[in-house]
Chain length 338, copies 4
């Protein structure tokens, strides 16, 4: 079968199409899946840039998120059968419950081979059925971006319904967070450098928008929108350039979910701002299979469709990475396999 390979730090040019042996044997608990769609995450780009912790010096298959069809099952498999439409949980060993170190040691496309390939075999325990209202392309965005947004809003933070949530930019996690938070009855603010994107966010339900080019001190705009109080939750995806501003925008007793580092991972945080506002900064490391199941159910009940910006073919994988690197997207970038 065909697959892509990535080398840590060799940039997008380092992506190469390789050939891997077909999967012939299945362990008794394994399921074989024909991959139909793979969604990209910012992490995948950072690995090509060499700025994300990964063990990919000698080349690994990239990407963590896919949707596909079960085409064979091992002898002991009970939860799936041939023809089932499935997604894989980001961490194969974090099924549910509290996070512990050993649950997040393994993940796809970081320390070991990922999913940008035509077929994969993996334990049935790591798979979840695709909700009925989603196609493969949409479903491929749930395991990492979707679960990260879900975990931030509904698991790691105990928000009361009717809270205020700030999302930064219009990448995959932020737009999914906008959809989820609105469907749960929260008030959502969003930032972008583009008025067109902000307009699009409004049609998706955003209650207020902030153009951070027009308002470089956008944290002040957030305080203004909240009568000086700040928001209950910020999904902080920006890193170096945004983290301290995000903390300022967080209200007394509120939470800043630390999710990513689009502008770099080298920022720092002032503990005193945490102390006198009784605020918390909470690292969000994707989530468990149980969270993916909860997210699936919630999207189904509320008919939530992930926002897909652009779909590329398997031949266009480098173009898909370039597209993501340009930072022009609104929502998710997906690779479609035939």
């Amino acid at each position: 079968m065909r697959a892509f390979q990535v080398h840590h730090g060799k940039q997008i040019d380092g992506l190469t199409l390789i050939s891997k042996p077909d999967i012939t044997d299945l362990d008794s608990h394994e399921v074989k899946v024909r991959i139909r769609a793979v969604s990209l995450n910012y992490r995948d780009l950072m690995i090509t840039q060499g700025i994300y912790p990964a063990k990919a010096d000698h080349g690994i298959i990239p990407a963590s998120d896919f949707a596909g069809e079960v085409i064979a099952v091992g002898s002991s498999v009970t939860r799936f059968q041939t023809g089932d439409r499935v997604m894989a949980s980001f961490f194969p060993d974090w099924l549910e419950g509290e996070l512990t170190l050993d649950k997040v040691t393994r993940c796809y496309g970081g320390d070991s081979d990922g999913v940008l390939r035509e077929e994969i075999a993996l334990p049935e325990s790591g798979l979840v059925k695709i909700p009925s209202h989603l196609d493969y392309i949409s479903a491929s965005t749930l395991p990492c971006a979707g679960v990260t947004a879900w975990n931030s809003i509904f698991e790691s933070t105990k928000l009361q319904p009717g809270s205020t949530v700030l999302v930064l930019g219009t990448g995959g996690v932020s737009i999914m967070a906008l959809l989820l938070a609105k469907a749960a009855g929260h008030k959502v603010f969003i930032t972008s450098s583009s008025n067109a994107k902000l307009e699009q966010a409004r049609t998706l339900g955003a209650d207020a928008t902030i153009n951070y080019i027009d308002q470089p001190e956008w944290q002040e705009a957030v305080l203004d929108l909240t009568q000086g109080k700040g928001v209950d939750l910020v999904l902080e995806v920006g890193g170096k350039e945004t983290v301290q501003r995000s903390l300022t925008a967080t209200g007394t007793g509120g939470t800043m979910a630390i999710i990513g580092g689009v502008s770099g991972f080298t920022g720092t945080l002032d503990p005193i701002s945490l102390l006198f506002g009784a605020k918390q900064a909470k690292g969000i490391f994707v989530g468990s299979r149980a969270m993916l199941e909860s997210l699936s159910r919630f999207t189904e009940i509320n008919n939530i469709k992930p926002v897909i910006d652009e779909v590329f073919s398997f031949d266009q994988v480098p173009q898909a990475y370039e597209y993501m690197a340009a930072g022009k997207h609104f929502g998710k970038v997906v690779i479609k396999l035939d």
Copy 2:
């Protein structure tokens, strides 16, 4: 009546004994208290040094924590009567429930007059009865140091019984946290520069001790004690010199409670360590009256006695500050009034 006065940044020499008019009128909801003991907190020292946010440029009465006897009650007072032994909650407006900005706007000895005085009148809603097993000296340590420890372990963090807790040094909050955490069935580690103090901590129940002079990379010692996992909760009181080490000592999914800045408030925190460990840094801003009540009940049921290092008389207030500044204490420093 006699009182002390402090000026922001005028050092301990700036402490002066002043005379204030006696309290003659009480509002209908107020209670008049004869103050019997005042405990000092590191914050009180930082105000003399000018490194704590306070509105004391023109002089205020310092200190926040007292225990005393009710000597008169207003016409509408229902919860107290003359002769009751009482403590005041740190924030008069934070009675219970979630923290909001307006609940922590007022506090004693920071933005307005405090309690280092012979008598005080205050609304009955801000007072709590002293548990029966404690004298005035012991009770005076509960409102700030006691509640801060309580909030860190039992309110802001949802620890399972049998968790591991790290306390830094042997100041008032740390020693109270040691007592509380042990009484609730947790495992507790403690650091100090003094083997004698560490030995004393062991007699109070500490499960392991670390001398940070002998082991400057003490966070590694914590990891060793936990088979590389780190602890579930750190009570971070050190600030600049300790905050990043404390974060390293915090386990995956664990919490660092941001409480103080003994070594300075200018430290920074690396958000990426939060992200990949799914850790949280949580500011602890003392706590509510309901927390003081819960703490009082818990100390009574478990016969917990706060550890008092030294008691000074009202005449010796500057010496008490000097003693605290020397950093040699183990537990609390208290001023006793006759």
Copy 3:
């Protein structure tokens, strides 16, 4: 001023129009309110029937829920001013935090005079501002019915978004619960004896409807709708005739919120069903002022309008009671004062 009076057990005929002295003096913390609308609850009807615990043998002013306008404020009042539109919290002493016995000792229209009157004076601490999108008639339904629904779904139960909720009948609590649960992204089932009402519930968002005349074993219909699993939460308002069926309809690990007794308070519950399903039965006793504030904010953000079935004038109070007793309503019955 004019007011109504009710006697415990003297039926609707016992309602009499009386004259009370005008309010001339205000305590320093009190606010005087011109009452504009009063909503009725099933409890008010049960008091006329003598089947609700109340101290009304010698006649009290009935009803607990009103909305009105501030027309005077006491000398120490800080949260309100003349002209403010306000509602009263059901329990004047339960401001926030956990329920304790002393917080629910006093309530309006049960043990002491209620609000079916032209004017009232009460402490400012018991009042909440009306959200901007609601008029007096709508706002008058929030304090008891609205808060009970809120408490059941969002405070006493920790439902994950995307849970399944069952409401019984189309009374005030049930219809408000339908609106709130849908706005928070849950799936909602509803029962009624009327297909017309069920159709109306569908237009408000109900995901499935059950006519309990057609399906007397309606708990089986609930199990069918959930693939045999049962729902995550039942708002049990029916009492004697429904409580055991509601428990059957509750899924493993799920919650039955015990709210009322429309069919009588004499039912019993089988503890073994709780044990083997690890289910919980949780009494809901209205809620706190903080819950009323959260509810107000949530309805405002999501533009939720309480469903008003019928509005009566002050002269028509007995007719309003009769209308409620007939059990034909869908949503709330409100008395409008000029």
Copy 4:
């Protein structure tokens, strides 16, 4: 190997010693354990009496709780090796997280063969290591009685430290609950018909004792001990004769954990008492493997030793059942295998 067999409803006489084939093959994820100790639960007795839901009409091996030594491991086993000392979790499919129906479908000694046998093979996922301070006899009491007590106090109920807990009688769950609750800093009351047992409970830390022969209205004694407030948590193990009294003894906002039916499963519960006290009745269905792990860690940190009343040999199994039926025990009844 030798094993015992029980028939549903055939009383203790129905217990027969049988011979089963030795275990020769292991599935790749299975572990083979030499059983060293089996503890009895009241449920095991109820199965002989035919009053517990079980599928044992044609005879099954009874009992659910054992401790033993790993004597062989399957080819894929990673968590255990030969020589490890282990216990089995009560529900092999409830590893962690929220309870769902499919997690509790299978259990030992109820619907299928249990553990009163010399050897057993089972998936490694269902096993937990014995804490270092416990021998086989003590460890055998943790999976059902220990976890039930743990779940009641620390998982299903969110008690603040320093709460009041009532345990009924001196059976295995109650005595373990006494030890756990005291080690976590709660106040514990206990009932019994025997002053000698109550004295013994005091030496284990009970704060107050009630002889229910002397005080048949023992719920009133509980109210007296709590100034009329009632306790925060009752572990209700009595069933028919006690459940309504236990509810009366539960304070406003408190919890009654529904655990057992020593006096019969046919009792009923009054929903109105739940409503007006905002109380909850919560079914406790043992617990997960994660709870067994938490319990093990907690007992190790706090050096808690389960209380063993009597140890019988494998030949004396019927006598052990008879002893339990007599209801004279204080703590657990255990069968020791050589």
